[in-house]
Amino acid sequence: MRPGGGTPRGERIQGLTTESFDALLAQLAPDRERAGELYETIRHKLVRLFEWRGCASPEDLADETINRVARRLAEGIELRSNDPYGYFCGVAHLVYKEVLRRAAREHRAIESGDWPPPSSLADDEPSDERLECLRRCLQQLPADQRDLVLRYHQGENNIRNRQALADQMGIPMNALRIRVHRVRRKLESCVHSCLSR
């Protein structure tokens, strides 16, 4: 693993020296493989946090955050072992605030990002091709997972439906949400590869 090449996603890290990248991994975990996994998790989370904040280039901002943390670590800063994520979070907030200030300077609304206005998205019907891919992917799931995700998405009395489902399974609603989401992630990846063919 090295910045600029190899794993994890080294090719995305711009302007990061091998020393600072190594310092980052060493602080995340003594085992390099484990450190690589943690790095991927943190990066994925940062990307999503910037997305949820409405930023237009979440991947770039996540990499910028990681680069800054890594540089500081190479300078000798140590992550607090009881909260190694706190430092990433603090730096991410700084990066976000810089983006806000820059956007304000450029009189650009950050929430709309660089993407087309949402009105064009509002009432799209899923394409036949996408539906067909989804059907195929659903068929590949174990029956219980397929039933679970479809029942969860049934429209009428949706909230009551889900509560009944959670009661039947004997798990809290949030556990049900997470369980369904794990199945949905599999479907997302399956549909994506089906559509790419």
Binding site: W115, L121, L138
Partner: protein, 297 residues
């Protein structure tokens, strides 16, 4: 008294962009540190996109969802998946309905399946001897006893096949078999809890060991498990941590054994927790078995 918002309420506000800045900062710190909370946030995001597609959101919320969660290319993909799932869940076929009670013909199938399962369990003594000859691996001849899913039956729901003459023939106890007699009970997590979730297990006289095999389909991320079995009075009979799944017939399965003598007739609860690497343990759906002591002859 001030209502403390729950995590799902906080996440919903955060995703809609209505959470005050300070609270959003604090929540983001937790999202980075807590994997389960992060997963819940992604789940609620998907719920919001699905609700938006179904027209269940107030106009202002809908606008926020479209702007904040669905305007990037990745967000559009997620919205498209939510729409497709909503459409698939509406369609009559091949969608499987999820009635708590199966239709008449399905129930008949299950009644038959339950009978077959009971017969197989009763035949477990000599079955075990046969299994040992296979080197301890599950024999492909053995029908699987599964939790009855609370769903309509589809062709790929696991229903035990009819016992073949071969099984019936091999189910007779073999004279002089020296191995400890074992009965196997196969269960599956991730099935719905309901009236059908208590599995009846007949333990014939002479049984020395009861082996519980708990299927783990759809839990590939969980690496290690904690299994506890409680007897009808709530006493813990087995409390085993660090159980790692085995692969049996291509299915990841937890295997634990109990001395049959500790299982008098009654209902037993099986509690399971699974742990993904780097995460806290997650409680899984409880299972139960109703032990019935078989009579001699």
């Amino acid at each position: 008294m001030r209502h403390e918002p729950t995590d799902d309420e906080l996440l919903r506000s955060y995703l809609l962009g209505t959470l005050p800045e300070r609270e959003a900062d604090h929540l983001e710190g937790r999202l980075l540190a807590e994997d389960e909370l992060f997963e819940l946030s992604e789940a609620i995001e998907a719920d919001l996109l699905a609700a938006c597609d179904r027209g269940e959101l107030a106009p202002e919320e809908r606008e926020r969802v479209l702007r904040r969660l669905a305007s990037s290319p990745q967000g559009r993909e997620r919205l498209a998946l939510a729409r497709s799932l909503n459409a698939a869940a509406k369609a009559p076929a091949p969608v499987v309905a999820f009635p708590r009670r199966a239709p008449a013909h399905s129930r008949r199938t299950f009644q038959w399946a339950a009978l077959a399962a009971c017969l197989l369990m009763t035949a477990g003594l000599s079955w075990y001897a046969l299994e040992r000859q296979h080197g301890g691996e599950s024999s492909p001849l053995i029908a699987r006893e599964r939790e009855a899913p609370a769903s309509a039956i589809t062709s790929d729901v696991l229903v035990p096949p009819p016992p073949s003459p071969q099984i019936a023939q091999e189910s007779h106890p073999s004279a002089g078999a020296p191995k400890p007699a074992k009965v196997v009970c196969q269960l599956a997590l991730m099935t719905l809890r309901g009236a059908e979730s208590t599995k009846r297990l007949t333990v014939p006289p002479g049984t020395e060991v009861v082996e519980l095999q708990i299927g783990l389909e759809g839990m590939e991320d969980l690496a290690s498990f904690h299994v506890a079995v409680r007897n009808p009075t709530g006493e813990i009979l087995l409390d085993k941590r660090g159980v790692e799944p085995k692969t049996m017939d291509g299915v990841r399965t937890l295997v634990v054994e109990l001395p049959a003598v500790r299982l008098p007739a009654g209902r037993y609860e099986i509690e399971t927790q699974g742990t993904a690497p780097g995460s806290d343990p997650e409680a899984l759906s409880p299972l139960s078995i109703e032990v019935v002591r078989g009579s001699k002859g």
